[in-house]
Amino acid sequence: MDKNKTNQIITFSDVSIGYGRKIVLSNLNLSIENNDFIGLVGPNGAGKTTFLRTLLGNIKPLSGTIEKNNLVFGYVPQRDVVQPLLPYTVHDVVMMGRYSLLGLFKTPGKSDEQIVMKSLRRVGIENLKTMNYNSLSGGQRQRVLIARALAVQPDVLILDEPTNGLDTPSHYSVLNLVAELHDESHLAVLIVSHLLSDVANLVKKIILFEAGNFQFGLTEEILSEANLAKTYSANIEVKKLGGEFLITSKHRS
């Protein structure tokens, strides 16, 4: 058997995605492997969210097939989506990660409790477990949502704009945490971000979405100036400084 094929955990074959009759992307043919670290980038409305929702099974593909072999997904939504008025504790929120794995009537048991504590420890917020989610800073909330995704014990971790609205220290702390989770747990990670430099320095592969089209490949290949200029309809400069990508828009001199 082809070695690459055995590593494939998700395969899109001739998939079209969209809503109702509106096709957002068509002819999606790509494979995600079990230790992949993939960035999803592209302008607003290019299909990143539609792609994620289709992958998660929230919307059905308009055509084609997606093989995902009963994978468990841990999903970290955009932090602004979760704005509870009720005083849920950090522990309450992370425990929600266990709910989908319990039966219809079963309540969380000792093993669920252990997994929740392990997830809290893993993201470094065990000390916050009795705090109200509402009272936390943006970076702490992001860690809670990551812990909840880890409590699912996922095969694939999906993060939607995890650094949006965070201050600089929290921003890099969350990115480092995601990188650690990938490196240490060998989790397949998909991360959506509009910050090209962040994604470029974090991931190994990129899916670059542009209106009605996409490109998938290694970061160096995809994030070329020509590609980005075409996708974003702007002059974008891609530099490498000390081995790190620096992607900025070209300003007039």
Partner: protein, 292 residues
């Protein structure tokens, strides 16, 4: 003490029924307020009222159909006499819930917009239904639509009690699913929970609770008790369980107190209950604001 004894003697079902109605609304209200769909309460109360008004058109003689089915003399059976009003109030509220549920993950209408449409259409059709009802029944319709805590009889009390038990069971048995989808439906769905289905279960349960309390105690009481006890509890509580506890205690205690005050001052008990709970809200809000 004498007045309290007299009230218990005269209106036992009204007192206990109002407690149950208050508990139902204040419990559901915690979810309605925290989900930021307060206007759903207003829309559902109006839909329920439109259903009651519809029942007076007598287009479908459900009483007779049921009487024939069970071999009961409908004229003698007061349960059947009131069944049609209750049935249509429930039906209209559930149709409104079904329409509202279409707002889930669609881009063409906002939740507020859809609720506004349900609200005004329900009011409009209620007016049309009343205009087309037999003139002799208009006074009865108006009295039912207004609702009055003191008119809660044994049947209304037992119906409300059964609804409270059903709501309690649904929220106990499926607390995981309902908690997750009302907290973060997108992630619940991504983790394999059928968020659309469970949100529908949640809204149907809210619809049942609101339509029946509206039918028995009126729209003003129902809407006020959906919002105010829950809002007070959210201001006061630091733990999720306490939010429910405070809300239910306020929702259950205020109506009998309001009946007592209304009796002493010779005013309507429903609006009195609303004013009392609003005063509690003002006090709690002021204390909270000043203590910051």
């Amino acid at each position: 003490m004498e007045t309290i004894n007299l009230l218990i003697e005269l209106f036992p079902y009204a007192i206990f029924g109002s407690i149950v109605a208050g508990i139902i609304c204040s419990f559901l209200g915690v979810f309605v307020v925290s989900q930021r769909v307060v206007f759903l309460g207003a829309a559902l109360t109006q839909a329920a009222i439109a259903g009651v008004a519809f029942s007076f058109l007598h287009l479908l003689n459900l009483e007779q159909i049921l009487a024939n089915l069970f071999g009961i003399q409908s004229i003698d059976d007061s349960f059947l006499h009131h069944f049609e009003h209750t049935f249509f109030s429930l039906l209209f509220a559930l149709i409104a819930v079904l329409i509202f549920s279409q707002s889930y993950r669609q881009k063409f209408l906002t939740t507020d917009g859809l609720l506004g449409i349900i609200f005004v259409v329900a009011i409009a059709i209620r007016i049309i239904f009343i205009q087309k009802s037999p003139i002799a029944e208009v006074a009865e319709i108006e009295s039912i639509l207004k609702g009055d805590i003191l008119f809660i009889g044994s049947q209304e009390f037992y119906t409300l009690f059964v609804i409270l038990v059903i709501i309690g069971l649904i929220f106990s048995l499926f607390s995981k699913q309902l908690k997750f989808v009302t907290f973060d439906a997108d992630t619940a769905s991504a983790h394999g929970i059928n968020a659309r289905f469970w949100l529908l279960v949640f809204y149907f349960t809210v619809g049942i609770g609101i339509s029946l309390t509206t039918r028995f105690v009126g729209d003003v009481f129902t809407f006020a008790f959906l919002i105010l006890p829950a809002s007070i509890a959210i201001l006061l509580a630091k733990r999720i369980l306490n939010v429910f506890l405070y809300s239910v205690i306020i929702g259950g205690l205020v109506p009998p107190v309001a009946i007592y005050i209304a009796f002493q001052l010779d005013i309507s008990s429903g609006p009195t209950a609303v004013v009392v709970v609003f005063i509690i809200f003002l006090i709690v809000y002021a204390i909270k604001k000043l203590s910051k």
